[in-house]
């Protein structure tokens, strides 16, 4: 489908939601829902998306939507899928009349890397047919920017503030994709709203996969990362261009995970001179300000660059 045709698809996330101006989650959720192919039920863990789209008595969801607690988006999705299958088998119940129902679970990084990890792991292991969409804005933004397992090293948050003693968060980002791939599910992919065609295509593949699928979306947050709202898309693009967040997909073929780089990252793999230095990405965000002022922390910038390079090399080893 071309962009022009996809533009005609009605939006399933209605305007009037109260996510911040320039919110990357809003763009991502809109694009994810552009890929919906038939009857679909959505469930969302506690988080910015849930809070800001369903302020009573309003809802921004133009499809069935169920709120769940912080930790159990994946368990809830499992229940929805199991209920559908049971009704279908017995031929009774409100969902029995549908040929198929897609189930999408949205959760943030807090609800995935930390609080929802065991529910996610359990649902993947049981093999429920659903798509889990991780909206990774790299901290607990909804409650006021607390660090999560998804927060990158050196980012300042309210619970990992940058000061004289520590330079922001001390730990590296948890390798959630590897953890998910290790569950040997049919489909895992990374996406960025800065690349809408790639995102919508991958979401469609995820829906079509039989069994669990996992979509990891990189979601710039103007409020929590401290950058002007119009730069959300540009920053997402820079994360891909610096290879901090490469775009790829991984299918399980004959028991082996097969990684494929998506075109924006593949072109960098082929032309390594196009890979941009991580500094360009860091310097645009207030959460990394202390790496540049009052004095430049070349040691830390270098450390981050080396980490990005290592992760990128490790991906290339798997994907080429």
């Amino acid at each position: 489908m071309s962009l022009r045709e996809m533009a005609k698809q009605p939006d399933l996330l209605a305007p009037g939601h109260r996510l911040c101006a320039g919110c990357g989650e809003a763009v991502t959720a809109r694009l994810v829902l552009k890929a919906v192919r038939g009857p679909t039920i959505v469930t969302a863990a506690t988080g910015c998306l849930e809070v800001a789209t369903t302020i009573f008595p309003y809802t921004a969801w133009d499809l069935p939507w169920i709120h769940t607690a912080f930790e159990n988006a994946a368990a809830n999705a499992s229940g929805i899928e199991a209920a559908f299958r049971a009704m279908k088998r017995k031929g009774r119940g409100p969902l029995a009349k549908y040929e198929h129902i897609d189930v999408i679970a949205f959760a943030g990084d807090g609800g995935t890397y930390d609080i929802g990890l065991q529910a996610l792991s359990g649902a993947l292991e049981r093999g429920h047919d659903f798509v889990y969409v991780l909206l990774d804005n790299e901290a607990y933004m909804n409650t006021g920017i607390q660090r999560s397992g998804g927060t990158p090293r050196c980012a300042a948050t309210t619970t990992s503030p940058a000061g004289r003693v520590i330079p922001g968060k001390r730990e590296w980002k948890k390798p959630i994709d590897e953890i998910v791939v290790a569950h040997e599910i049919p489909y895992v992919a990374t996406v960025s709203a800065s690349y809408p065609t790639d995102l919508i295509r991958k979401m469609r593949c995820a829906l079509e996969a039989e069994g669990p699928a996992f979509i990891h979306a990189f979601v710039p947050c103007p409020r929590g990362w401290r950058f002007p709202s119009e730069q959300t898309i540009a920053l997402g693009r820079l994360a891909v261009q610096t290879c901090l967040f490469p775009l790829w997909e991984c299918r399980l073929e004959e028991g082996r995970p097969r990684y494929t780089l998506s075109s924006p990252s593949l072109s960098i793999a082929k032309n390594p001179e196009r890979k941009r230095p991580i500094e360009e990405y860091l310097e645009k965000q207030g959460r990394f300000r202390h790496l540049f002022r009052p004095e430049r922390r070349d040691d830390l910038i270098k450390e981050i660059q080396e980490w990005v390079d290592l992760k990128w090399e490790r991906l290339l080893e798997k994907a080429l």
Binding site: L3, R4, M6, A7, K8, D11, L13, A14, P15, G16, H17, R18, L19, A21, G22, C23, G24, A26, V27, R30, L31, T53, T54, I55, F56, P57, Y58, T59, A60, D62, A193, P196, P222, P228, S229, E230, Q231, T232, I233, A234
Partner: protein
């Protein structure tokens, strides 16, 4: 609970807290200071502004041109920053 004769069975419980109005009834168009102004003479109908708007406030019209719904635009400036031919300008609301 005091004063309650017998607790309701699960079948009698309400179906949960159900937001029953569309957020379309809640206008966010007054959030921003700036609003986009599109120069249709230069617009190439590429549709990118439609995809990148967090509010879904840009609709592609039948003739292929974008149209901003100022009832919901929060003035974030993404459309102006991302338009490949730079034909969107952010101007003061007034």
């Amino acid at each position: 609970m005091t004063g309650q004769k017998s607790a309701p069975g699960w079948r009698e419980l309400p179906h949960g807290a159900v937001p029953y109005k569309s957020s379309r009834e809640y206008k966010t168009g007054d959030w921003g200071v700036l609003k986009p102004k599109i120069d249709f003479g230069r617009c190439t109908k590429c549709t990118l502004c439609h995809f990148y708007c967090p509010e879904g406030a840009i609709r592609m019209r039948g003739d292929g041109y974008p149209e901003v719904d100022y009832d919901f635009c929060k003035g974030c400036g993404i459309c102006a920053a991302e338009c490949p031919v730079k034909c969107i300008e952010m101007v003061r609301r007034g």
